[in-house]
Symmetry: C2
Subunit: 299 residues, 2 copies
């Protein structure tokens, strides 16, 4: 049965593979690495790519931290006993230069407590500035294929979870076209072994690079207008709003002494806010907005 | 004794006076007004000024809303009985074009419940992109004078409250050079009558226009460099972080169905994030950062 060292090792190598794939496809920029340690034990490798040919700003972060569970964590876990925790994962956000190229987010993670409880979590979701229906369909079909290979119920369930999670409540918009999201996966919540669940999480992690490099090749060099760039800045503003107001991981990390610069690698280089901006009726921008709704069956 | 109608009327007129003062001093842009209604009763006048000679984007909002206290509000108030609420106030944030000109925030507000409890709250704080010591001292001296005219204990107490409130915990920085902040002022928390407290809140509201128009005249036309503009975008990013991650009013408003565009008028037109940006040692930017600490005695 996979132990924490094997899982950590897989995530570490996944970070390497993804960084290599993104660098190769971008062709211009290289990841810069920062190593850091956590105050209770372990640490991470934060990797940032900036000002690439396709990627304007992107992070691919690996971490494996451990130590005694503090009060904030115990409250979040709803436990009243002392325990040591171990948490490892890979987190990715990529903001492209081109407004016709989507933002992507991926996370795979594993958590365990010294009392023997553990779970996996993760997901991938796509935030196009302009929705391309064919690409949206293709993206969801890729995720469905990964899910279906492990359980025929996963895609429907985790697609709905993503719709509910990546929701900007105060805008009544989803962050983008969603994807999949899952958490607390273990033998207790699924009729599967730990190794089977790990195999699914591995497959999700490994599907990131082929998906996003494909989208980079399709969209990275498309010509675009100033008005499309402006719309990109506005959509990035919504991305900032989601991450800072609603994303539980970001909020928990920032309020419990996580490494701020690693957490906030998710923010774009540049975002804009205009008071009460409304796209023109019938415009491409309005059409995109109409697709940032829960429950759209993309496949 | 001042009743809610008089207080609302004062705030409504304060909004008019402040908008006139800012428009006159800016000399170029005009406020645009949106009237809105709240789903339980009352409403507001949101006023935005954009692309002025000095102000790039600023809001001066008045609201007076009422109705039955909902579950979120009851939880926040820690009451377990049904009651009607009434809330009125003026909220201001101004983001200037010039990086040598500070951002300002002001809020004065009044809240009452149908069981007879009420309180006032408010404050003014300044967020320079570059701290000018003389102006910082002058700003705090203005606030101290307003406080001292009403109670010799107010300034010290409310200055500390602002330091603690406008704190970006995950950056270990204050948002700017602070100012004053106060909440839950009433006969129970202060040895003063309701009219005396209202007189103090009025004075705070009325000191906004002379303070900020003076700073506009001093700084609005100063020459600046591209590097200073870039630093301004970075500091605005911190402003966004504070407002979306830590500001209780913003979080409460966004999660309880407040008017999103009125609440988020506080966000700048444009903000930027660079991974792990550190100003050069000894630079003006580093010097400014060193002053975003709690407990500096500016006066």
């Amino acid at each position: 049965m996979a132990n924490k060292h094997e899982i950590e090792q897989f995530f570490r190598e996944l970070q390497d593979e993804i960084c290599t794939a993104l660098e190769t496809t971008d062709g211009k920029a290289r990841f810069q690495e920062d190593l850091w340690t956590h105050h209770t034990g372990g640490g991470g490798r934060t990797r940032l790519i900036q000002d690439g040919a396709v990627i304007e700003k992107g992070g691919v972060n690996f971490s494996a931290v451990e130590g005694p569970a503090g009060e904030d964590l115990k409250r979040q876990l709803e436990i009243d006993f002392n325990a040591d925790f171990f948490a490892t994962g890979v987190s990715i956000v990529q903001h492209p230069n081109n407004p016709l190229m989507p933002i992507i987010h991926m996370n795979v993670r594993y958590f365990e407590l010294s009392d023997g409880t553990y779970w996996f979590g993760g997901g991938i979701d796509l935030t196009p500035h302009y929705v391309d229906d064919a690409q949206a369909q293709w993206f969801h079909a890729q995720l469905k294929a990964v899910c279906d290979a492990h359980d025929p119920a996963f895609y429907t369930q985790y697609k709905k979870w993503a719709d509910d999670y990546f929701y900007i409540k105060h805008r009544e918009e989803t962050r983008g076209i969603g994807g999949i999201f899952f958490d607390h996966l273990n033998e207790g919540s699924l009729n599967k072994s730990k190794d089977e669940i790990f195999a699914f999480v591995k497959a999700v992690g490994q599907t990131f690079a082929p998906i996003y490099t494909h989208l980079m090749k399709l969209n990275g060099e498309k010509p675009f207008t100033e008005a499309q760039k402006e719309w990109q800045y506005i959509r990035r503003g919504r991305y900032v709003e989601f991450n800072l107001v609603w994303d539980r991981g970001t909020k928990f990390g920032l309020s419990t002494g996580g490494r701020t610069e690693s957490i906030l690698m998710s923010l774009p280089k540049e975002a804009r806010w205009f008071y009460n901006h409304q796209p023109e009726e019938g415009s491409e921008e309005a059409l995109t907005l109409s697709k940032f709704k829960k429950g759209i069956d993309w496949v």
